[in-house]
Homo-oligomer: 455 residues x 2
C-alpha cells in the first residue's frame, strides 16, 4: 500500500523554557526541567515509544534580557541543564534512543565541541548528535563579549561552515582501526593512523589530532534547522537531519523538495538527509476533549506573552484592534509569509479571536499543531509522510511529559498498526536507526589512494 | 591520641595517558580508559572506598606533538573521554563520590564552563568540582589558534583570576530561593532574585545571568595545583582543594604552612583550604612482594620514555653516563630542587641504577611513591597527616584499577581502624563531605546589606 519503503522517524523535542507557560498546567511538574529524574523519565518515555532521538534545543542565555525582569520572572527558561552534560548523563540512563543537542558555532571552540560530542558518542555507544546552530540571539552575544548585538548572518554561516569542517576533521584524525593495544610490542597505536589536522582558515587554526580518538558513529549525527538560503545550503551539504517549521503541506513539500534537490546538487543521495517538520500534538479521546485541552493550555498564556507572537511573527499591530474581536485579514508582508498565512487560516478556520489565536500560537511554540484524536492525528502524519512533506517529525509537547506520554501511548501504536513506524529499534547506533551509512575517516580515504596496497 | 580532630581525605586520580605504560601491565585492561564501563567501575571502586572524590586530570591535546609520531604510538593518551561529559555520565552511575575534573581558563569561555559545572552539580545533586588550570602546554595552544607556544605565565594567571571571578559571579546570578513556581500567580521566579553580572574586564565581557540557575553546592568545589607564586596566590585565595607534588615531609610541611598562611592572609580560615599531595601507592602482602610489583611495572617503561623524566625533571644529561651504573651525585641546579633531591635520595636509598630510577619515576608519574605493606603505607600517610604535611592525598594508581582496588581493600580499612578515615559519608554533597561551608550568593549578600528587612 505504501509508496515509500522507509518509515516515519520521530524526535521528542525538549527545551527548557519552550511552551513558556507549560509549567503552569495542572498536570505538569512545574520544576520538571530542573529535575534530573524528570529528564530521565522524559528520555525513557521517548525510548519506550521507540523514538529515534530526543532533541534538546538550547540557547546560551535566558529568553529575555535582564532588563525585562518582570517578563523573565514568568518564564521557565532559567531552569534546566546544560545540554552536553545532560545528554552525557542521559546516555548512562538509556540504551537505544538518540541524544541530539544544540551547540553553537558562533561562540564555541571546535576542539572542545568535537571532543565533547565524540565523548558523548562513546559514552552512549553511538547515539550522539549535534544540532549545529549559528546563534542569532543578541542575549547570547552579550554573554560572550560580542558588543552591539550579534555578528552578521553571512559571517556566522561562513564561520559555521569552517567550524563544521574542523570538527569533522578532528573526528577523523584518529582512524577507527588505529588502536593496536599490543602489550608485548609496546604499541598502543598504529603511528600511520594518527593524523594532524593542521587546519589554517579564516576563523580557526587547529593542529589536532583529537584526544579521545574516533567515536562509534565515526561522526555523531549532525542536525540543523537553518531556514535562510545560507542555512539551507549548509544543511543540505553537511546535515543528516534538518528540523523545520512548516505549517501547510504545500509549503512543507516545497521545502522538502528544495532541500532534497540541494542535497543531490552537493553530490549526496537524497535519502542522506532526513527532513523533520516541528509538529505540536494535543491529543484527546474525542475531538472536543482535544480542543478543550488545547483551550486549557492556551489560556495559561498572559496577553503580554501571547501577543508577542502576533506582533513578531505576523507583524500585526494589536493596538489598533479589539483583542476579543475576530482575527483580521492581513495585508501580505515581507518575511515569514507561509507562517503568516498559516496563522490567518488557522484563526479563521477555528473562528478565533486575536487573543485566542495568540495564545494557541504561543502554546504550540509557533509550530503547526495537530489537535485531535488518534485517527485524525495519524492521518495527518501519514499524509505528510506519504506526500513527501516529511521524513519524520519533531514532536513538540505543549504540556511536556504528559504530551509525550499521549503520543507514545496513542499515536505510536496506530503508526505501527499502519506499518508506518518501527516495532523495534533496527540498529545499535542512532545512525543505524536512521538508516544512514557510517562515514569513513577522510584520512583513511586519502591514505588508501596514496598507497592502495595499504587500504 | 590524634592531635587533629579532622580526618584524612582521599581523591582517586584518573587521567588517560598517565602512567603511560600502565596499559601494558598484565593485570590492566589495556583499553580501559576508553571503555565507559571501566570508568564506571573505577568511580564505584572509589565510592566503595568512601573516597571524597575522583579527580580527572586533563589536557586538550595528546601528550606529544604529532611530529613525535613514534613516541605517540606508545602512549595511551589518545584514549579516554572528555572529562565534563564523563563526569556528567558518572554522576548518573554513583551516589556519593565527588566528581572533580580539569578545565582550562586559558581556552574556555567562562559562560560555558560555569554552565557545564553547575549542570553537573545539579545532575550529581551536589558532587561536582572544577580543577582550575591555566594550561602551559604548547600542544594545547596549537589546538586553539595560539601560535608560537603558549601565552605568558603571568598573563595566564591574570586571565585565570578574572575567569574565576566571572564563573563564580555567574553561579551567584540566580539566588538559591529565586524559584517561586507559583502556578496561580504565573510567577516562576522572584524578579528581585535574578541578577545581571554585567562584567566588563580585561579579558571578558559577560552580561549574565546564568541559564540554569544556582546549583546544589552554590559553588562547585574548586581545586587547583599551581606551584608557582602566582599559582599559590590564586589557589590560597580561591581554591577549596590544592593538589601538589611534594616528596619529602619537610618540603610538604613547608608548602602546607605557606599555603595555609596565604589563605589566612586572604581573610579565610586555614581550614577552608585542603592540601592533597599526590601519592603513588604500590601495595604488597609483604615488603618484597610490593617491591617486586614496583619493579614489574617499572620495567614496562622503555628507555626513551623513562629517561625523559631524568633529563627533564632532574636535568641530568644521561649521554655522559652508563644507564646501568649507579645514580650519580647531582650538582644543585635551578628549579624543582626538592624534586631533584627526592629523586637522588630515592635512588641512593634503594641502590638503583640510572635506568631503574628513571623507570620508577615514570611509573609513579613523578609523584612520591609508597612501596610497602598495609602497615608501612598507612604509617606514612598518618605521619604526613599528623605532621601537617597533608589534609588528604591524591592517590595515584600505577596499575590503575588494580592499584585503586588494593588501596580500597587494604589501606582504607586500616586508616579507619586507626580512626583516621570516615566509616560512612558524612553528608550528601562533596562540600559537606569535605567539611566546607556553602557560599552564599554574592548578590544575596549585597541585597541583604541594601535592605536589611529583606535578608
Ligand atoms: C525545530 C527547530 C529547532 C531549533 N532549535 C534551535 C536551538 O536549539 N538553538 C538555536 O539557537 N536555534 C534553533 N533554531 C533556529 C535555527 O537554528 C535557525 O537559526 C533559524 O531557523 C533561522 O534560520 P537561519 O539561521 O538560516 O536564518 C531552531 C529552529 C527550528 C525550526
Ligand atoms: C596532582 C596534580 C594534578 C594536575 N593536573 C593538571 C591537569 O589536569 N591539567 C593541567 O593542565 N595541569 C595539571 N597540573 C599542573 C598544575 O595545574 C600547574 O600548572 C603546575 O603544577 C605548575 O604550576 P604553575 O601553573 O603555578 O606554574 C597538575 C599538577 C598536579 C601536581
Amino acid at each position: 500500500m505504501s509508496k515509500r519503503n522507509d518509515k516515519i522517524r520521530l524526535a521528542a523535542f525538549n527545551f527548557s523554557g519552550m511552551y513558556s507557560q507549560g509549567w503552569r498546567h495542572p498536570d505538569v511538574q512545574s520544576d520538571g526541567e530542573n529535575d534530573f529524574d524528570w529528564q530521565v523519565t522524559f528520555a525513557r518515555t521517548a525510548e519506550r515509544g521507540l523514538f529515534d532521538m530526543i532533541f534538546m534545543a538550547d540557547e546560551s542565555s535566558l529568553a529575555r534580557p535582564i532588563s525585562d525582569r518582570d517578563m523573565l520572572s514568568r518564564l521557565s527558561s532559567v531552569a534546566g541543564f546544560e545540554p552536553a552534560t545532560l545528554m552525557a548523563a542521559l546516555a548512562a540512563c538509556t540504551q537505544h534512543v538518540g541524544l541530539v543537542h544544540t551547540m553553537s558555532t558562533t561562540y564555541e571552540q571546535p576542539y572542545y565541541l568535537a571532543r565533547q560530542l565524540a565523548s558523548i558518542d562513546k559514552i552512549s555507544k553511538g547515539r550522539a548528535g549535534w544540532n549545529l546552530v549559528t546563534s542569532g540571539n543578541p542575549n547570547e552575544a552579550a554573554n560572550f563579549g560580542v558588543k552591539g548585538g550579534t555578528t552578521l548572518h553571512a559571517d556566522r554561516y561562513r564561520r559555521a561552515a569552517e567550524f563544521h569542517h574542523v570538527v569533522t576533521g578532528l573526528w577523523d584524525s584518529i582512524e577507527d582501526d588505529a588502536f593496536l593495544l599490543d602489550k608485548e610490542g609496546g604499541r598502543y597505536l598504529d603511528p600511520e593512523k594518527i593524523h594532524a589536522l593542521a587546519h589554517e582558515g579564516e576563523f580557526f587554526s587547529v593542529k589536532g589530532p583529537l584526544r579521545g580518538g574516533r567515536s562509534p558513529q565515526g561522526h555523531p549525527i549532525i542536525a540543523q534547522a537553518g531556514a535562510s538560503g545560507e542555512g539551507r545550503d549548509l544543511g543540505s551539504r553537511t546535515a543528516d537531519v534538518v528540523f523545520c517549521s512548516t505549517h501547510f503541506i504545500e509549503d512543507a513539500q516545497a521545502f522538502y523538495a528544495d532541500m532534497k534537490q540541494r542535497t543531490v546538487a552537493h553530490g549526496r543521495q537524497a535519502s542522506d538527509l532526513k527532513i523533520f517538520p516541528g509538529t505540536s500534538i494535543v491529543w484527546g479521546e474525542t475531538q472536543s476533549q482535544a480542543e478543550d485541552r488545547f483551550d486549557e493550555i492556551s489560556r495559561l498564556y498572559p496577553d503580554e506573552i501571547a501577543l508577542e507572537n502576533i506582533t513578531g511573527a505576523v507583524q500585526l499591530d494589536v493596538s489598533n484592534y479589539d483583542l476579543d474581536g475576530p482575527f483580521p485579514d492581513l495585508p501580505p508582508t515581507r518575511g515569514m509569509q507561509g507562517h503568516q498565512r498559516a496563522i490567518s487560516a488557522f484563526a479563521k478556520h477555528n473562528n478565533l479571536s486575536i487573543r485566542q489565536t495568540a495564545q494557541r500560537l504561543a502554546s504550540s511554540s509557533k509550530h503547526r499543531v495537530l489537535v485531535g484524536t488518534t485517527q485524525s492525528i495519524v492521518d495527518n502524519l501519514e499524509e505528510w509522510f506519504m506526500g513527501y512533506a516529511a521524513d519524520g517529525f519533531v514532536i513538540m509537547n505543549p504540556y511536556r511529559l504528559r504530551s509525550l506520554e499521549d503520543v507514545v501511548t496513542h499515536i505510536v501504536p496506530e503508526l505501527q498498526r499502519r506499518g508506518l513506524f518501527r516495532t523495534a529499534y533496527e540498529g545499535k547506533t542512532l545512525r543505524e536507526n536512521l538508516g544512514l551509512s557510517r562515514p569513513e575517516s577522510r584520512f583513511a580515504a586519502t591514505r588508501a589512494v596514496r598507497s592502495p596496497d595499504v587500504g
